[in-house]
């Protein structure tokens, strides 16, 4: 099981601030696998290059190269809108 945390307006697109994705194959979850597991509107929005991804609290330099395993937490981070 992988936890997907949705920040800002992505929580609205996902229908909840947190989603859970089951690992289906034998290997880790990659970017294509994650998008396939997300609601359609959210998967489309996630392609926006301004949306950053963190795994277990660490930012991923290139989200296309995402690899997440069982128990990991993925966060989808839209542009920040300040304090």
């Amino acid at each position: 099981m992988i936890t997907v945390v949705l920040l800002g307006k992505l929580a609205d697109l996902g229908g909840a601030p947190t989603l859970w994705v089951e690992l289906t194959g034998s290997g880790p979850l990659d970017w294509a696998g994650l998008k396939a597991a997300l609601p359609e509107a959210l998967a489309a929005e996630a392609e926006d290059p301004r949306i950053r991804v963190a795994v277990n609290g660490a930012l991923v330099a290139d989200k296309i190269a995402l690899q997440a395993g069982d128990g990991d937490e993925i966060a989808l981070l839209p542009p920040v809108s300040g304090g």
Partner: protein, 153 residues
Amino acid sequence: MRDIRLLDAMFTPSALIDPFTQANPGLGGVCTFVGEVRSDSGVEALELTHYEPLTLPGMHDLADRVFGRFDLMGLLMVHRVGLMVPGEPIVCVSAAARHRRDAIDAVDFCMDHLKSAAWFWKREKRAGPEGSAWHWIEPRGQDHHDLARWEAM
């Protein structure tokens, strides 16, 4: 003296600033900025979301850069998260230094970075013809312009 906090409940800025000033004896000046939820027409509430594993570490990284860039004696950086109403403080940054330029510029630098490079997401509850509704706030061009000032220096 370095005091960096994320708070999920109402705070009183002077209750933080007065002890902070006392904790930096010998200072020449203290600059402070307090941001409040503005009473824009129709705005009933504001909610700030954060992502805990990034937000507080990001504020500490910002403090490291501020101490590296300005000659400071102390830095207080406090940010609210959660639900707030107009008039409530959102952010309080205070810098103590021997000279005023370092104190003022450090606060200016912190605020520009907290506004457009810190891990916060903001939405407003606005009154509308069909009742109140929440609206996400997009980053403003002015904020990015403010941030870019520091890169040229």
